[in-house]
Symmetry: C2
Subunit: 348 residues, 2 copies
């Protein structure tokens, strides 16, 4: 009887513990599956074409940026803060064509573009053609949070960032030997080839230029999606040329009801097709999944026009999608409770 009573109490305790544990697990299930996805640009890298140590460095830097973003999300940071902080890490790395390491214009300067969008309220901010802001993504964030504007360009954007107390640098800060040599190669190639100026977006040797636009989409614990993109544009681009990265709807879009998107590639095609918003529109108006919409947009709509590039996305349920029609795209993602993935080639 003693034993029975003890056994009864034990069984009750076990039962009670199971109920508690189930409630806890169910509660955990109800918290949004926070997630992050980043990219470092669609490119022409074939397996083996990247020196081993450089490939390792790319993977390490992407891993670091991803981990930073994931940890922030895990600690309850907002999607907007995570996108800005994650992109900042890639801007600060000379490996990517954003911030330090940005490509050069035809005139041998660096003109940078960035944008960010908050899917909770469709707020957005962007800067284009900035030359003195160390982290253009931070300026885009300030435009969104602290100004009545969405898009500021050139000197006006430089001044605004300075007023906002952001880190300012001399244009020479962005210099890397690699990007400078890329400009010389493209200029030399241009002399030899006749460029068909009428083919929209067909910038000479896009594959030879350093494509390395960076982007990030995050879904935070509150179910809020944000997306951002940052770039130096195209090697040898015209002074004043604005690509898709700072254009809300083209290079970046986020809506908590559908998904967040960041693009990379031949910007002119992405503007003409309004690619980032197009994917969300197909979800919203035709009830197509993000993955299917992105496939159609990259492999049908973009390819039909002859464009090259890719996109990353994260939808309101935490689903992840990546599509590109190039041999490689630097990309990495991490969903709550799953393992992190850092990928470069199409066959990974």
């Amino acid at each position: 009887m003693n034993t029975y009573t003890f056994s009864g109490v034990k069984n009750f305790l076990i039962f009670y513990f199971m109920i508690l544990a189930s409630s806890f697990l169910i509660a955990q299930d109800n918290t949004p599956p926070f997630a992050i996805i980043i990219h470092g640009g669609a490119g022409s890298m074939q397996r083996g074409s990247l020196p081993d140590n450089l490939e390792k460095l790319y993977r390490k830097t992407m891993q670091e940026a991803l981990q930073k973003g994931y940890e922030m999300l895990d600690h309850g940071a907002s999607a907007v803060d995570v996108v800005a902080a994650t992109i900042k890490i890639m801007e600060d790395s000379p490996l990517f064509n954003a911030g330090k390491g940005a490509v050069f214009t035809a005139e041998g300067k660096n003109e940078l573009d960035a944008s960010i969008m908050d899917g909770a309220n469709l707020n957005a901010g962007a800067v284009a053609g900035v030359t003195r802001i160390k982290n253009p993504i931070m300026a885009a964030r300030q435009v969104m949070m602290q100004s009545p504007n969405v898009l500021l360009s050139g000197d006006g954007a430089n001044h605004f960032a300075e007023e906002q107390g952001l880190d300012m640098v001399n244009n020479h800060y962005f210099y890397t030997k690699r990007s400078w040599e890329s400009l010389q190669r493209v200029k030399a190639a241009e002399k030899e080839k006749q460029k068909n100026m009428h083919d929209k977006g067909s910038h000479l040797n896009w594959f030879d230029t350093k494509s390395g636009t960076v982007g990030c989409v995050a879904l935070d614990r509150k179910g809020n999606i944000a997306a951002g993109t940052s770039t130096g544009g195209l090697t040898n681009k015209s002074h004043g040329r604005i690509g898709d990265s700072p254009i809300i709807g083209a290079g970046t879009y986020a809506d908590d009801n559908t998904c967040g998107i960041s693009c990379t590639g031949q910007g002119e095609y992405f503007i003409r097709l309004a690619i980032a918003y197009r994917i969300t529109a197909m979800m919203a108006f035709a009830n197509i999944s993000m993955a299917d919409a992105m496939k159609m947009v990259i492999h049908q709509h973009l390819e039909k026009l002859g464009g090259v590039g890719g996109a990353i996305g994260l939808d309101y349920q935490g689903n992840i999608a990546v599509e590109f029609n190039t041999p490689s795209m630097f990309r990495a993602y991490h969903r709550a409770g799953e393992s992190a993935h850092v990928l470069i080639y199409a066959d990974e």
Copy 2:
């Protein structure tokens, strides 16, 4: 018998003539119903608030621009040429906030934006923040036709236009007493009021500033649609601020398979909602008519965010749509074989 024969021949001739005439009418029915629609901006004008002579001048100028475009279409001109020529007339008029008569930035300068898109091939061109180009719409057209870019900004765009041999002017050319006084009024009002900087697009006294963005959509005899938009932006805008007018997908979009759209209003909202492309996306992906899509976008999506403005559109069948949530919108349209309409107030 003679009479009979004569009557038979006559009947045969009448019959033959009827067949010929029917074929001709059927052939005419098969030619696309060419059409043109223009706008001179959504605004706050209530009936009676505009002096009679000024109202007459607005109607006369819109009528002239419309007629020029209609005649060009009638003579077989392409939609792109018609859009550029029609917008040029409105840019050259000091009545509208585009070209001559553009509003002033906070720094007392004029920075102009324009874009154009060809629905046949989704080619597009745009300029932003230009200061020395007499007709920004012509520069947008040259960017589309003669460069690998879609969007050029600031000095880079000025230089490109100069290289292309377009008419260049001193920034002072754009001055009108009316726009200058508008800047002084807004600056005075700004001193008195505290501006909520966080409310995206809520530029102080939008209704008081001269909204007068111009736009045009044309459907030519070949069934090709083009759309264009040109503006000076917002009175007292920040140096470097870019609104929706030069953003393909926001202020302008054209696709021969759906429609052409040109927008006017608080640009920041139009960028955040990708309004011009949104209307075509609803047609393409949800099979909603242009009229219904435009109604939803202007009166639901835009209003939900608190935005103000309007849009004009022309679809592949020659249907016309105009929607705005302001008391007035300068607008005019003319479909082949019908009469021309020139309208200002919401109740017209």
